[in-house]
C-alpha cells in the first residue's frame, strides 16, 4: 500500500495552548493528522536570567533561580548554593545538609506529582490530576510552614538556609509520608495501568539510549531509556552518599524501552525512592544546631570558576560560575535539563499523530521557565 501525501499544512501549537506547559510554540508541519516536521520555537519567557546575574551579588541571584524552574524552586536553589559553596570552599553544618536534602526530596515528589498529573490531563484524564495536586498541596503546606512561601522559596542560602525547621515539622513530615505511600497505589490503579492510558503512551515516542545520550538528555527522561545515571548516586553532592536508595530505570514494562509510558512510570518509581530517602533523612536529622552559623557576612568567592551539577526533578542542573574576587559574579551560566529534553522532541515526534505529539511533549516534563531562563 503506497503512502498518499496530501498538501502540507503548517500549524502553530502555542504559544497559547493548553498542552504546551507554558509559553512554548511548536511549528508543526502536518499532513492531516500525521506530523512530518516539528520545530520548537522558544524564548517567549526569556527574562535575561544570566545577564541579570552579572549585576547582582551572589545571594541576590538565589531568588532568580527560584523563577527558572518554578515547579522545583528548592532544587534550583540547591544547585546554585552548592555551586557557590564549592567555589568558596565553604563547609555547611550537618543539620543544614539534612534540611536541604529533605526539602529537595519533598520538592522532587511535588514536582513529579505535578508532572504525572498534568500528563494525565494531556492524555485526557482529569481526575488523576486533581488527586495528585491534592497531595502536592500538603507538601506545599509543609514548605509554607518552614519558610512562608508556597512556590518560590528563596529558602537555601549560601552557607545555610533562611529558616530553621519549625516545631513539629518532622512529625508532620512523617504523617504525610504515612498518608502518601498508599496513595501511590491509588494513582497506579487509576491511571498508570489504565488500558486506554497504556494504549496512548506505550510504544509511542521511543527514545533510544544512544540518542538520549547524544542529545544530552538527563534525569528521568534518560533513566527511562534504561541508562542508570543519577548524580545523587554517580557524583554525590551534599550528603546523598549517606542514604540508601535505588536509581530507577525504565524497562519497557508495557511497550518498548524508552517510550512515553516508561518516562511516566520512572517518575512514579522515583517518587517512591524519594519517600525512602525522606524516611532516612527525617530519622537521622540532628536535633540541634544553628542553620545560620556558616552563612558568611560577605560573599566574596576567590578568583576562579566552577562548574557544579545537581540532580533536580528534571535532570542534571549545571551552574557555571566565574568569579573575579568581587561580590558580583562575572558570569553565571545555567545548564538546564529541560532545554535538552525539548531539543529531542523533534526527533521523537516525526511521523506520529497530532495526539501523540501532545503525549510525547507531556512525557518529557519540560518547564519553560527553565528553558528560556
Amino acid at each position: 500500500m503506497g503512502v498518499v501525501h496530501g498538501e502540507q499544512m503548517v500549524l502553530n501549537i502555542g504559544p497559547q495552548h493548553p498542552s504546551t506547559h507554558g509559553v512554548l510554540r511548536l511549528k508543526v508541519k502536518t499532513d492531516g493528522e500525521i506530523i512530518s516536521e516539528i520545530t520548537p520555537v522558544i524564548g517567549y519567557l526569556h527574562r535575561c536570567f544570566e545577564k541579570h546575574c552579572e549585576n547582582m551579588t551572589y545571594d541576590q541571584v538565589i531568588p532568580y533561580t527560584d523563577r527558572c524552574d518554578y515547579l522545583a524552586a528548592m532544587a534550583n536553589n540547591f544547585g546554585y548554593v552548592v555551586a557557590v559553596e564549592e567555589l568558596m570552599e565553604l563547609k555547611v553544618p550537618e543539620k543544614v545538609d539534612y534540611i536541604r536534602v529533605i526539602m529537595a526530596e519533598f520538592q522532587r515528589i511535588a514536582s513529579h506529582l505535578l508532572a504525572l498529573g498534568v500528563y494525565g490531563l494531556d492524555i485526557g484524564a482529569f481526575t488523576p490530576f486533581l488527586f495528585m495536586l491534592r497531595d502536592r498541596e500538603r507538601i506545599l503546606d509543609m514548605f509554607e510552614m518552614t519558610c512562608g512561601a508556597r512556590l518560590l522559596y528563596n529558602y537555601m542560602w549560601v552557607g545555610g538556609v533562611s529558616h530553621d525547621l519549625p516545631k513539629g515539622f518532622v512529625e508532620t513530615a512523617f504523617q504525610f509520608l504515612d498518608y502518601f505511600e498508599p496513595q501511590i497505589e491509588e494513582y497506579n490503579n487509576l491511571l498508570t495501568y489504565n488500558k486506554i492510558f497504556i494504549e496512548r503512551t506505550a510504544d509511542i515516542g521511543v527514545l533510544p539510549p544512544e540518542v538520549a545520550i547524544s542529545y544530552g538528555v538527563s534525569g528521568p527522561n534518560l533513566r527511562a531509556s534504561g541508562v542508570k545515571w543519577d548524580l545523587r548516586k554517580n557524583a554525590p553532592y551534599s550528603i546523598y552518599d549517606k542514604f540508601d536508595f535505588d536509581v530507577c530505570i525504565g524497562d519497557g514494562g508495557q511497550g518498548s524501552l524508552g517510550d512515553c509510558w516508561d518516562r511516566y512510570y520512572v517518575r512514579m518509581l522515583e517518587v517512591k525512592e524519594s519517600v525512602k530517602i525522606l524516611r532516612q533523612a527525617l530519622a537521622q536529622i540532628p536535633k540541634d544546631g544553628d542553620v545560620h552559623q556558616a552563612i558568611p557576612k560577605k560573599i566574596r568567592p576567590p578568583k576562579g570558576s566552577i562548574y557544579s551539577r545537581t540532580e533536580t526533578p528534571r535532570g542534571d542542573l549545571g551552574f557555571y560560575i566565574e568569579s573575579d574576587g568581587s561580590p558580583i559574579p562575572t558570569r553565571v551560566k545555567m545548564r538546564s535539563p529541560a532545554f535538552t529534553a525539548l531539543a529531542v522532541l523533534g526527533e521523537l515526534s516525526e511521523g506520529w499523530m497530532m495526539s501523540d505529539v501532545i503525549s510525547i511533549l507531556g512525557s518529557l516534563d519540560i518547564v519553560l521557565g527553565e528553558i528560556d531562563r
Partner: protein
C-alpha cells in the same frame, strides 16, 4: 399522537372557534415549547449534576453558594442559572475571516438535530409527542443530523483547530452510528416493531422481561450500544473532536457566548436522547422493575427518568475516570471490534429466537 389528542381536547373546549387550523397550530406549538423547556431544564440540571459528580469523584465540593441571592444559591444550585445568564450577556464574536452564514447556522443545525429527536422519546405511557410507527429509526436518523452541524462549525470557523475537530467528529460519529444501529436491530428483531411505545409494551411485566435480560446477545448489544452512543455524543473517552489538551476547543474553538452554549445545550440533549433510547429499548422504558409495584401512569415518568439519569450518571462516571483514545485507536475499536461483534450478535439473536423463542 399527543398532537391529535391535544387538538381534539382543545376543540372540545372551545366550540366557539370555527377555524380549526388555529387550534391545530396551538396544538403543535404547545408540545414544541414544552420540549424546548425540557431541553433547557435538562441542560441546566445536567451541568449542575455533572459538576457535582465531578467534584464528588475528585475530592472537591464543586459549586457552592453562601446563601440565597446572587451567591449561586444554596449548595450552588443557582450556579448554572448564573452561568447561563452570563453566557447570554456575553459579547457575540464572529471571526472576521469566518464564513458568517454557516458560522451562525451551525449551532442551530446541531440544536435542531437534538430537538426533533426528542419528539419521539417516550417519557411515560401517554407522555410522548409523536409515537411514530418508525420511532426508533427516526431517533437514530435525527440523532445523526448533529454531525452536519459539527462539520459546518468546524469548516466555517476558518480555524485549523476547528477544522481538525470537525473532520475528526465526522469520521467518528459516522462510524459509531453503525454499531449503534446494529445493536438497535437486536431490539427490533425481538420486539418486531419500530415504534417506541410498542418496544416498551413488549417489555411489560418486570425486570425479567426487559430486553437487556432477554438473552446474552441482547446484553452485549446493550453494552455496544451504550459505548457507541458515548462516542456519538463526543464524551470522554471518545471526546477527540473537542479534545481540549490537543485541539484547544475542537470544532467550537471560535464560538463564544450564547452560540457556544447552544453546542452545550445540544450535547446534553443528545445525552438525554441516547440514554432515553437505551432505557426504552433495553431497560423496560417506563415500566417498573417489579410488576404491579408503583406501575401506574404517573410513576411511569418517574421510572423512565430514573433510568435515564442512571445511564447519564454512568456516562459522567466514564468521563471523570478515563483518559482519551487516539483517533486511529477509536476507529480500530469501532471497525475491528464493535462491528464484527454486532454482526455476530444479530446472527446470535436470530439463532437464539429460533431455538428458545
Amino acid at each position: 399522537m399527543t398532537v391529535d389528542l391535544l387538538f381534539s381536547w382543545l376543540s372540545s373546549l372551545t366550540s366557539t372557534i370555527e377555524d380549526s387550523s388555529i387550534l391545530l397550530l396551538v396544538a403543535i406549538i404547545i408540545p414544541c415549547v414544552a420540549l424546548f423547556l425540557v431541553m433547557a431544564v435538562n441542560a441546566i440540571v445536567m451541568v449542575y449534576v455533572e459538576r457535582k459528580v465531578a467534584a464528588f469523584m475528585q475530592d472537591r465540593v464543586g459549586p457552592m453558594g453562601q446563601g440565597v441571592g446572587l451567591h449561586a444559591g444554596k449548595w450552588g444550585l443557582l450556579q448554572t442559572v448564573a452561568d447561563a445568564l452570563k453566557l447570554l450577556t456575553k459579547e457575540d464574536i464572529i471571526p472576521e475571516k469566518a464564513d458568517k452564514f454557516l458560522f451562525i447556522l451551525a449551532p442551530f443545525v446541531i440544536f435542531i438535530g437534538a430537538f426533533i429527536a426528542i419528539v419521539a422519546v417516550p417519557f411515560g405511557e401517554t407522555v410522548i409527542v409523536a409515537d411514530f410507527n418508525i420511532g426508533i429509526f427516526y431517533i437514530l436518523a435525527m440523532g445523526s443530523l448533529g454531525v452536519i452541524g459539527i462539520i459546518i462549525a468546524g469548516w466555517s470557523s476558518n480555524n485549523k483547530w476547528s477544522l481538525y475537530g470537525g473532520m475528526r467528529s465526522a469520521a467518528q460519529i459516522v462510524s459509531y452510528e453503525i454499531p449503534a444501529g446494529l445493536s438497535i436491530i437486536v431490539i427490533i428483531m425481538l420486539t418486531g416493531t419500530l415504534s417506541m411505545q410498542g418496544i416498551i409494551e413488549y417489555q411489560s411485566g418486570g425486570m425479567g422481561n426487559w430486553i437487556i435480560f432477554a438473552n446474552p446477545f441482547a446484553f452485549i448489544a446493550f453494552l455496544i450500544y451504550f459505548i457507541s452512543v458515548i462516542a456519538e455524543t463526543n464524551r470522554t473517552p471518545f471526546d477527540i473532536p473537542e479534545a481540549e489538551s490537543e485541539l484547544v476547543g475542537g470544532f467550537h474553538t471560535e464560538y463564544s457566548g450564547m452560540r457556544w452554549s447552544f453546542f452545550f445545550l445540544s450535547e446534553y440533549a443528545n445525552m438525554l436522547v441516547v440514554c432515553a433510547v437505551a432505557a426504552a429499548g433495553f431497560l423496560g422504558g417506563w415500566h417498573s422493575p417489579i410488576p404491579g409495584y408503583f406501575d401506574s401512569n404517573g410513576w411511569g415518568i418517574f421510572w423512565m427518568l430514573s433510568k435515564i439519569v442512571f445511564l447519564i450518571f454512568i456516562m459522567m462516571w466514564f468521563r471523570w475516570t478515563f483518559p482519551r483514545l487516539r483517533v486511529d485507536q477509536l476507529m480500530n475499536v469501532c471497525w475491528k471490534v464493535f462491528l464484527p461483534i454486532s454482526l455476530i450478535n444479530i446472527f446470535g439473536v436470530g439463532v437464539w429466537t429460533l431455538i428458545f423463542g
